[in-house]
Structure formats: structure tokens, C-alpha cells
């Protein structure tokens, strides 16, 4: 039989195993806003892009924005402009920027039947 402390360790390990191993923690929108100064020139203050060739980021899903920035940084998604910006970002920066733009009013989540 397992004693109490062994049982606690086992439960702890189980919880750790179930946590997603993404290496990303939660982003902070307020910190993201401060880090977004560079983005503003093309994507606008809140992510409403000024040039229609560039995507609107305002209201986009946080997890998709994280994926896009991580892909630009790794080179999985190729874009000369975004590659150079993303190269300077840490995981925390990406999380914060995604949290900021996702929290803004913009894109619509569709429910089409």
C-alpha cells in the first residue's frame, strides 16, 4: 500500500504530466501593449492594420497569434519583414503581444450554419 506522502508525490507527478508542454506561460495584455510599439507602424495601435495587405490582428485568437509569431521566428512561416522582428522576441514577448492584440476589438468569430 502507498502511504500518504508517496500518494501526494504521485498525484503531483500526474498533474505535471497532464500540463501542456508548450514552454509558453500566460501573456499579459498590458505588458504586450508596451512591447507592441514596433508593430504599430504597420498593424496599427490596436491591431487594426493601416495597410490592407497586412492582416488585422485586433480580436484575433491568442493561440493563433502565438503560433504565427513562433512560426515567423522559427522560419516555418516565411516573411522577410516579420522574420526580422520575430527573431528578437522571447516566448514571453510573444505571449504578451498575442494577449494584447487578442484583447482588442476587431475580427469577428463567425458562427455560420
Amino acid at each position: 500500500m502507498l502511504n500518504h506522502s508517496k500518494m501526494n508525490v504521485l498525484i503531483g507527478l500526474l498533474i505535471l504530466a497532464l500540463m501542456p508542454a508548450t514552454g509558453f506561460s500566460r501573456g499579459d495584455p498590458a505588458t504586450g501593449e508596451k512591447k507592441a510599439a514596433t508593430c504599430e507602424a504597420c498593424h496599427g495601435k490596436t491591431g487594426m492594420s493601416i495597410d490592407p495587405n497586412y492582416p488585422i490582428l485586433a480580436g484575433q485568437h491568442e493561440s493563433y497569434l502565438i503560433k504565427a509569431l513562433a512560426d515567423y521566428r522559427s522560419g516555418a512561416r516565411e516573411n522577410a519583414i516579420m522574420a526580422s522582428f520575430a527573431a528578437q522576441l522571447s516566448n514571453q514577448d510573444i505571449e504578451d503581444l498575442a494577449a494584447w492584440f487578442a484583447s482588442q476589438e476587431g475580427l469577428e468569430d463567425l458562427s455560420i450554419k
Partner: protein
């Protein structure tokens, strides 16, 4: 000579005015797209992230994105296959439809 000038001037004008797609035609052509992009909060899997919102997205960007998928310049198995079935006109119509959503409500 004058005729040639007029013709080349016409070509220049046409090249600059990019006709946008037809949202009504796009709505019909977008039937497949809505299987993922028309369900609020729908997840992509392996890796898991939410399928991007495209309602109200910029028309020009949507056309660029579809062409990148079609030409193999942007990786996503499903999107590459979908984009390869579309003509330029299809892409413009579909982009016009999604860009038009959520703009005036």
C-alpha cells in the same frame, strides 16, 4: 503611334485598378471554409491552436494568404489542398465575402 500610346495608357490604368471579388458569389464558394472558419472557437489540432478568425479581415491580406498557401509559400496541409482547388477569381470572391462580414453590425 498615338494609338499605341492610348493602348499602353489603358493597360496602365487597368493594372492599377484591382477589381475586388464578389461577396455574393464568395458566400456560395466559401461553403467548405465554414467547416473550420465558421465555428466559433474551433481548434486546429497537431498542433493545437484556434483556427484564425477571418470575419472582417482585410480583403487584400486574405487573397495574399490564399495565394501563399496555393503556391506552397505557407505551410498548412489542409489550407494548401483547399487553395489548390481555387482559381484567382474564387479566391477574390471568397476574400470579398469574409472581408464583408462583421463590418456594419
Amino acid at each position: 503611334m498615338r494609338f499605341l500610346l492610348i493602348i499602353s495608357a489603358l493597360f496602365l490604368v487597368c493594372g492599377q485598378v484591382q477589381a475586388k471579388g464578389d461577396p455574393a458569389a464568395g458566400k456560395i464558394k466559401a461553403y467548405t471554409c465554414t467547416g473550420c472558419h465558421g465555428i466559433a472557437g474551433y481548434n486546429n489540432v497537431y498542433p493545437t491552436y484556434k483556427v484564425p478568425k477571418i470575419g472582417g479581415q482585410n480583403y487584400e491580406y486574405l487573397v495574399i494568404a490564399l495565394k501563399e498557401y496555393r503556391d506552397g509559400n505557407r505551410d498548412h496541409g489542409t489550407m494548401e489542398l483547399q487553395a489548390q482547388t481555387l482559381s484567382d477569381q474564387d479566391m477574390e470572391d471568397i476574400a470579398a465575402y469574409f472581408a464583408s462580414l462583421g463590418k456594419d453590425d
